[in-house]
Symmetry: D2
Subunit: 154 residues, 4 copies
């Protein structure tokens, strides 16, 4: 399945908005989290940071999405900004655009994510190649990324 | 030094406000934290939870204080309530009363805390017996508590 | 119950043999392990090392016993000596004397230990005050030790 | 560099001796360890177990070598067998053949290993593609393996 475009209302840690279209040809790891989700704070987000550091000089881009689908008043961009600063997060983080008809934000709905943390891998061809919910094993994630990076650019 | 009284603007997880005066004769562990402090989330708060569970049937009371001294707009009671629910915290948590002259809340100033997490142990006699800042070793903390519980009530 | 005396065929990390009689008045932590017991290597022995370091300047003595009750040919003193060196163990370690009638060594039988790791705490009065089998919580162990150290010498 | 053949004096966990020649076309992870090496027990060997479980249905073969280069009397096959049983190791483990002129065993010398743990990855073409000494990151190791598995058989 072709990866849908991101819908982001506000970006942190990037000088300009990021689109998947602009990353075509690269492998993309999409890390969706909520700042008050314990499994994200303990596992998902540190793992995304490790991936960002490990593959810094490769063709992988680690992009993070704050997909708030509960406690909206508790996880505003003001709180998120403090969280990003306190946890020393350095990869680009987009605030998933609020949904019009319910609590689920737009990108989260487009990707049919089941919750947070979610890790999605998009190949050089722009297709979704892995869609994982919950705690992801480091070695398994590395193997997925290694295989995708080994593919030739389209 | 006699432990100063708590100044709390709002309580969670307790049917009635708590005072140190009302706990006299018991040993008290005061756990001060901020919900966006990584060292609190990773170490201090889980340790307070473990202490609360371990000494549940003893004369120890574990009381927590949300001592916000930075990013006040990011750590409001609304955000704290979601944090408490998401992290399944069950011990009493008081919001340290905002200071009048600066960012430091009242109880934090009274105890001259240096930051978060802080763990303070108060003996049965109401005196401060341990005042620790930062990551505290489980075995060392246990030894302090065990010794204080072994003291006779005044 | 009064703690039975140790029966040791060979000592490591001590200039002279150790007896409980000689330690009377002090609190003793007896750590029984086998060098090929995974729970000892991962939890029990590192915990005994932490206790030894934490209470170094107190009245606690941490004494270790190699209580081999299985795979005797695989855990000889020659292998144990390499283990002690490789794992940088510095507390006194005694080889529990082989039993005459079966695989269980003498001290292990005297204390009716159920397996390894076992942690036993002996009070200043020479009596057994705690007898734990398996993984022991650091904070709980600390509390036991702290309470025993708080007791006056007999 | 073409991977030299293994020199093994005794195998565990395999019905028949294993040769690299017989594995040609597959990716091979060679895990070299010593049963009394703390870094092996804590990190290297559990990682090899995770790799074996994770890639069980792929073209990866995890082969382990007991490369004893110190404390030979402490790490005999008798002790190794108890270690394998106690740690529930299930992948094939070969005892690296003793060297004729010194403490370094034959395969360890052929591969010029610097110590234990060592992780070596051999591609489908039989060439050494990764040669790592010490603690290896799970995600990085996964990426190496994923890339090698993605290569076509020669």
């Amino acid at each position: 399945m072709q990866a849908p475009e991101l819908a982001v209302s506000q970006w942190f840690n990037t000088p300009a908005p990021i689109t998947l279209a602009g990353l075509r040809g690269r492998v993309v790891m999409l890390h969706a989290f909520q700042m008050l989700c314990p499994g994200c704070v303990a596992h998902g987000t540190p793992q995304a940071q490790r991936a960002d550091a490990l593959f810094r000089n490769s063709d992988l881009s680690v992009i993070s999405l704050h997909t708030v689908f509960e406690y909206h008043a508790a996880m505003t961009p003001v709180s998120l900004e403090a969280f990003i600063h306190e946890y020393r997060l350095t990869f680009p983080i987009g605030v998933d655009r609020a949904g019009e008809d319910g609590p689920i934000p737009v990108t989260m709905a487009r990707y049919e994510m089941r919750g947070t943390p979610t890790a999605i891998l998009i190949g050089r061809d722009g297709r979704i190649r892995h869609h994982g919910f919950g705690q992801e094993d480091d070695m398994a994630l590395g193997a997925f990324i290694g295989a995708l990076l080994a593919e030739p650019a389209p």
